[in-house]
């Protein structure tokens, strides 16, 4: 057998990684999985609202004292925030650049139109934009309390109830949570394919996990506004 023909590789690995469509998708897959893990923790934390104001507010306060006395007040929280911000920015920039490329790669449409791919797949881009806008709203609503009229600092339980006592608070949240479900449904399975974990044998299990995650996350998040609306939490 012949020897390998070694061609000169490009010097900067980071650049060739980011410059490749497969590399960018890898960045999207990893950042997406980081956000997904956070979402699972966030959703489980939200469910503490069903144990009453005292326990929920104490849990919210613990998020700030996490890691003490080794870490200073809010250090762990800020570490998570910085990581999430990096994940959101990388995910968004890669998605934007790849989408631009994808649209340019198909400059003319078919005259005979036909629906392509599943609903979750087709809504990834718009769903992603909806989620990015929702994150901004969500932070202004329950972190900085800027848009939450009846908010009191340090009382997250009461602030959540205040948010879900307005019709627009509920509508924005419910739409975003449906978008999360659809995004995770296609995103988790796609991330597995991008990272090379997917194959014919594992396909069914990966799809099941993706659907399960999407369903559990959406149901878990939606349970809070529904509970406020029905008076279970108030």
């Amino acid at each position: 057998m012949a020897l390998a023909t070694r061609t000169e590789r490009q010097p900067s690995l980071t650049r060739s990684f980011w410059g490749s469509t497969v590399g960018k998708k890898t960045v999207m897959a990893v950042s997406g999985l980081i956000m997904l893990m956070y979402l699972v923790a966030h959703m489980l934390g939200n469910l503490k609202i069903f144990f009453g104001s005292g326990e929920f507010n104490a849990y919210a306060h613990w998020l700030r004292t996490m890691g003490e006395p080794l870490l200073h007040y809010e250090w762990a929280l800020w570490a998570v925030r910085v990581m999430l911000l990096a994940a959101v920015v990388l995910h968004g920039v890669a998605a934007y650049q790849l989408s631009r490329r994808d649209i340019a790669a198909r400059p003319s449409k078919y005259v005979h139109k036909r629906r392509r791919a599943s609903y979750a797949t087709r809504t990834m881009r718009w769903g992603g934009i909806i989620l990015a806008l929702f994150i901004v709203w969500h932070l202004l609503d329950l972190t900085t309390l800027t848009v939450n009229e009846n908010a009191q600092p340090g009382r997250p339980y009461e602030n959540v109830v205040a948010t879900f006592s307005t019709w627009y608070g509920n509508v924005i949240y419910l739409v975003a949570m449906l978008a999360v479900g659809l995004h995770v449904r296609h995103g988790f399975w796609s991330a597995a394919q991008t990272l090379g974990v997917g194959n014919a044998r594992r396909d069914r299990i990966l799809k099941t996990v993706a659907n399960g995650l999407a369903l559990v996350l959406t149901a878990g998040f939606v349970s809070v506004p529904v509970a406020v609306m029905t008076g279970v939490v108030g």
Binding site: M1, L3, A104
Partner: protein, 249 residues
């Protein structure tokens, strides 16, 4: 059978094209789709019109030359090549839309003919193995496990027709490139260039202006040779492996 055809007519790459309607009579249900187009062209030539240009060669489903989008589906409603699609899959009186492959990397040359040389350049970047020339090697010199041989053969079936690109909403060539990479990368004969092959072919694919993969799955549905969607994941795995190895060097 009688059909109303709406065919994409475009004089050359520069001029804009449009759908033109033709009535085609005297179609037998045993004709292939290409023979139906031949019937239309005979009529056009006799009436002094320009015949519809379309690519074709072997007409037995193995060369990958033919390929048009029929009613929005690459190679039409059946999972086969256009030359192997028979008119019995259409009803008398149907209106059938015939368009060329649509992708930025596949510019229209004329009518239904597109320039698919981008595929050749992807192959040129690494879709080969380096072997000494001479007499055929002894068949048992390089044993290949059965599972690997099957995997390689499944991907070797790709005829490079471009239906995957035509069907992809992003005009991506991931299924084609993955078929070629996987075919050679799994075999011992392809091992010396295993890393450079996947890196160079993916980079050639990107340079040609194909879109990225969003795992829509349209490619695998359109593929007349049944290259499966997990091929893309297998190539991604190879690409990540090669990148990791390159970073250690």
């Amino acid at each position: 059978m009688r059909l109303t055809l709406r065919v994409w007519r475009q004089r050359n790459a520069e001029e804009p094209g449009a759908m033109v309607t033709y009535d085609v009579d005297g179609i037998s249900e045993d004709m292939s789709f290409l023979e139906m187009l031949d019937t239309l062209n005979e009529k056009l030539i006799l009436s002094g019109d320009e015949p519809v240009a379309f690519d074709h060669d072997c007409r037995e489903g193995i060369c990958g030359a033919c390929g048009v989008v029929i009613n929005g589906d690459a190679h039409g409603p059946e999972r086969t090549t256009t030359c192997q699609l028979h008119m019995r899959h259409f009803e008398d009186g149907d209106t059938v839309d015939v368009e060329p492959w649509r992708a930025g990397a596949f510019p229209v040359v004329k009518d239904l003919v597109v320039d698919r040389s981008a595929f050749d350049r992807i192959i040129g970047a690494g879709g080969y193995i380096s072997v000494p020339t001479g007499a055929a090697p002894e068949a048992h010199a390089t044993p290949v496990p059965k599972a690997d041989a099957d995997f390689a053969f499944e991907h070797a079936e790709c005829i490079g027709c471009g239906a995957c690109v035509a069907a992809c909403p992003n005009g991506s060539a991931m299924l084609f490139t993955s078929a070629k990479v996987n075919h050679l990368n799994v075999l011992p004969q392809g091992a010396p260039e295993r890393e450079t092959r996947v890196l160079d072919m993916v980079s050639a694919m990107d340079e040609e202006g194909f879109g990225g993969c969003t795992l829509a799955g349209e490619c695998a549905t359109a593929c007349p040779k049944g290259i499966p969607l997990p091929s893309i994941a297998a190539m991604n795995k190879e690409w990540l492996r090669a990148t990791r190895k390159a970073s250690r060097r």
